[in-house]
């Protein structure tokens, strides 16, 4: 390695070996996508699979998302796992509003995505009626592999975001 660096005589080899050139977006997105702290919004049986995903066999820590935060103020991604009733929907919305930007949402399972089999007076027909959803995971409930696949899809989505630009955009006053 040392010989390769030494070939570029125009640079100080000691500094050159410790510098990485990249785009700001790439660096920000790399940090964000590998440290997604989930807000586990466990509302029904999907929450059991969510716990399985977090446990040793499936090990969500491989994707940097093992830090389940029960305070919305420390969370990056809300995993809505289960049936959202109208009564609970208000609480879910309120917790979502308390999460700091940037934030993402995974609708885990049929109920969170569309109301599932509960076509009744009490159940919200999909959490996307209230909050923006980034990834829908199908299944009733989805297996841990499916949730991890959804998480990887979210990571791929974060990778494509113009994070630096979005940051400067929020700095300028938005005309109401």
């Amino acid at each position: 390695m040392a010989e390769t660096v030494a070939q570029h005589a125009a640079y100080d080899s000691k500094i050159e070996g410790n510098i990485i050139f990249t785009k700001v977006d790439t660096a920000i997105n790399w940090m964000r996508k590998n440290s997604l702290w989930p807000m586990p919004m466990g509302l029904a049986c999907c929450a059991i699979e969510l716990m399985g995903t977090g446990a040793s066999r499936y090990d969500i820590a491989r994707f940097g998302a093992e830090v389940m935060r029960f305070s919305p103020r420390q969370a990056d991604v809300m995993i809505v796992a289960g049936t959202v009733t109208y009564k609970m929907a208000l609480a879910v919305k309120r917790i979502w509003d308390q999460m700091p930007e940037p934030k993402w949402c995974i609708a885990m399972g049929a109920c969170a995505s569309s109301g599932g089999m509960y076509r009744s007076y009490a159940v919200l027909q999909g959490i996307d009626n209230l909050i923006p959803v980034d990834v829908y995971v199908s299944g009733c409930p989805p297996r841990p592999e499916a949730l991890l696949e959804g998480l990887m899809k979210l990571q791929a989505k974060i990778d494509k975001e113009s994070s630096a630009l979005a940051h400067f955009k929020t700095e300028t006053p938005v005309s109401a």
């Binding site: 208000l90 089999m117 076509r119 007076y121 027909q125």
Partner: protein, 189 residues
């Protein structure tokens, strides 16, 4: 168990309208006016110390419309007996609260009120228990469609009709009477 029934028949003659036995389960149908007295006697004298559940039935289109069901259980004395007490009441009339006899009845009665809209005389806490405060309907009534009705309450909550047509469990009727028997697909509005 037969002694329990004969005691009840002797003591409350006239107020016991019928007794039914089905697969070892005993049901006593009583008059509404003396129901509270009979239930208290069951707890105090017949040692039915455990109130399993209170539920209600909607005999939609019949008179009287409501029917209250009390599931009692005797845990003490080593003898485990189950007893079901029922009475009917018309729409607009209040049922007597049994929360003074069994404190657990408070939540059961709140659920009956929430789902069916039957009110209770003497129930201290008359809030809804499952639906949110201010919800305008009683969803377990027969004339309430399974799909729900839209309701709008700013700052509180909203509900929308759940789409039933093409839903996962909507089946084609097997006979002409099916849509009438199964209100899930019936439009009541």
């Amino acid at each position: 168990m037969n002694t329990v029934l004969s005691i009840l028949r002797d003591r409350f003659a006239g107020a016991i309208l019928d007794t039914v036995e089905f697969r070892g389960e005993h049901t006593v149908i009583v008059e509404k006016a003396r129901a509270l007295e009979i239930l208290r006697y069951c707890r105090d004298e017949l040692s039915f110390d455990y109130l399993i559940d209170i539920s209600s039935l909607d005999h939609y289109g019949e008179e009287p419309r409501w029917e209250m069901v009390y599931e009692l259980y005797a845990l003490g004395n080593g003898a485990k007996h189950h007893l079901r007490i029922k009475f009917k009441l018309p729409e607009g009339e209040k049922a007597d609260s049994v929360s003074a006899i069994w404190p657990t009845a408070e939540w059961h009665e709140r659920e009956v009120y929430d789902m069916m809209g039957i009110e209770f005389e003497g129930l201290a806490d008359h809030r809804r228990i499952l639906m949110w405060e201010g919800y305008p309907y009683f969803p377990l009534r027969k004339d309430f469609p399974l799909a729900g009705r839209p309701s709008e309450m700013p700052e509180v909550a909203f509900t929308e009709r759940a789409p039933l047509a093409g839903g996962p469990f909507v089946t084609t009727p097997t006979s002409a009477g099916t849509p009438h028997r199964e209100p899930r697909s019936r439009e009541m509005d």
